[in-house]
Symmetry: C2
Subunit: 340 residues, 2 copies
DNA sequence: TGGTAAAGTTCAAACGTTTGAGCAAATATA
DNA sequence: TATATTTGCTCAAACGTTTGAACTTTACCA
């Protein structure tokens, strides 16, 4: 394995100094076009690959951005990440993905690892378990840009991109009531996570708006996995009075619910209507197709990346809070559309 | 934001040189225990965080390992990654995950990005699209350790960890025949990928072993998504003579098949039995539960990490090919278990 | 007691790049 | 023609750490 060619080799070959080479490669205005051309040619000729570590050390910029994702096996998260990546790659940033697996411990270790790798910024969505934010404070203190998305609208005072969860529940409930439902159950996420709390609040307020009383036993908090969706639905079917609709805060939970309903021979949507959340691809592939809420995965990814870029490119950035809240969109499918 | 404390600050505070501090922190044998203790104490006191970039630059080791994964939204891949991560973290390595999204282009760009980040090694599984391996040759030429897992048993002559795909088909076919099936269809992956080719070969040889003729129209190549699973199953049901079993090379495709079968009112497993591949969590949660092949995700992750560690820690590593092939395990569930 | 070895540390260079300051030549300005 | 400005480059230090070599001091052995 031969020694890698450095900026020095180019300099020697052209009888100029390394600094001139460096400036030429970066299109410094004080370098003549002739030299620039010669340098770039020689660089290609020698197969020069910039040493990222050296430039990062010297300039204090690693051009790496860390992403923390609760789980990778969700379409929502993986498409957000994909879009962040795309947007940042364009600007010369590379992306390090780490997963917390919904674990607080793991999330802390991820942050540690990212800081150690000297990332230029961190983009994160909180694990389900996470309830305190000291570890995120550490990032802020170090002056490293931090942006949260989806799970993370919180009081730590950092930039955030996500959908309007409160409003999205209203859309769902309005739709179900329009379909003639009156006892709407809610398989919710844990209320200590802001987004799920907001959905619960939205659910309650929407019912009240329609003068429908709130029934405690119809609101069940869970981790929204398929398994939990099944369990909570079984619980609902043990109630003396069944719901006539189920609104699940996640598609996997909705799928679990659907399975249980079908196993009990319950007709969806006529006996019990069903709405999920996230627009996972499978929702439109199974039978009946599941109504769900679309969170603009692509847009969220792009926006969060742009927010980061805005922040690092603006030399006089003021620590002002930027929250970007998108409107969610209800996708009505068979599981909640009753024939008139 | 105050300046970060460096090794120099510790040196000054203790009236010794930076080199002594560096050696103390690394437990160099020629540094007295007294000094080591003092240094470590002072380091903690000043909140010293080693500058990873500097040490990487100087020592030529970044302590980063790149992982390329075809898709993150698969339980198999995300649990392999999780286990690699765990194993490597223990040894002080951090992990960069990049996804190719099954795209050859993206895979190339990922490799570029990883090389640029100066990773100490690359662990990869090939994208579905990938048929040539020049980009992997580049890694080899640079002398950077490369290990492939699952998709990647190939002719590039690199270490590999995966299951015995040929053998796994035998187990599946043997089981289906034992259940009384005679016309076994195979929804296969693309045969240009070695693992899927091996499964097809195994499927054919297993049938021949039982003196069952091979029917071309029962072998359908696909990308193994849920959608493709549905399409291919529809195709199978258009045949003049239906199969009495479907062996899908992926669980999502199997799920698609199951949906179509159920929509046609076909009884599973009595009319058509079904076996998937990968042991995705949902296979044991839906009704009927789907028989599938377990690939030892955890073991693969651990082994691939250990292989990497062995290689970098062994100073006189000979470029000898190491292939680790695990036996797959069939998990029989309702979808293929006929009542006697 | 002289000589050798071991222990504990310092010195200085190196990793590859970036960057402010400086300098000479070329060009513009008056 | 003298002076100011711009252009194009060189110089040298710096980023924070690691590391081979050198240098003292202490311990050991005969």
């Amino acid at each position: 394995m031969k020694r890698k060619t450095t900026i020095k080799d180019i300099a020697n070959a052209l009888q100029i100094t390394p600094s001139a080479v460096s400036r030429a490669l970066h299109n410094h205005p004080r370098i003549s076009d002739k030299t620039k051309k010669a340098v770039k040619l020689k660089a290609k000729e020698l197969g020069y690959q910039p040493n990222h570590l050296a430039s990062a050390l010297r300039s204090g910029k690693s051009n790496l951005v860390g992403i923390i994702v609760p789980r990778t096996n969700s379409y929502f998260f993986s498409s957000v990440v994909e879009n962040i990546e795309e947007e940042l790659n364009k600007e010369g940033y590379n992306v390090i993905i780490t997963q917390s697996n919904e674990s607080y411990q793991k999330e802390c270790r991820n942050i540690e690892a990212l800081l150690q790798t000297q990332v230029d910024g961190i983009i994160a969505s909180l694990a389900n378990e996470t309830v305190d934010f000291e570890h995120y404070e550490r990032i802020k203190q170090k002056g490293i840009p931090l942006i949260l998305y989806d799970r993370g609208e919180n009081d730590i005072g950092v930039d955030y991109v996500g959908i309007d969860d409160y409003q999205s529940s209203h859309i769902v409930v309005d739709h179900l009531i329009e379909q003639g439902c009156e006892r709407i159950a809610h398989i919710a996420g844990f209320s200590h996570t802001r987004i799920y709390k907001n959905r619960i609040r939205g659910y309650i307020d929407a019912l009240l708006k329609h003068n429908i009383p709130i029934v405690e036993s119809l609101i069940l908090e869970s981790n929204l996995t398929l398994e939990e969706g099944r369990k909570k639905t079984e619980e609902l079917l043990k109630l003396p009075k069944w719901p006539d609709a189920i609104f699940a805060s996640g598609d996997y939970a909705a799928l679990g619910a659907l399975q249980v309903l079908q196993e009990h021979g319950i007709k969806v949507p006529d006996e019990i209507a069903l709405v999920g959340f996230s627009n996972e691809p499978f929702t439109k592939l199974i039978s009946p197709t599941i109504s769900t809420v679309h969170q603009h995965n692509h847009k969220i990814g792009k926006l969060v990346a742009q927010q980061f870029l805005k922040r690092v490119n603006d030399p006089n950035w003021k620590p002002v809070l930027h929250k970007i809240i998108l409107d969610a969109e209800l996708i009505v499918r068979e599981s909640s559309l009753r024939k008139k």
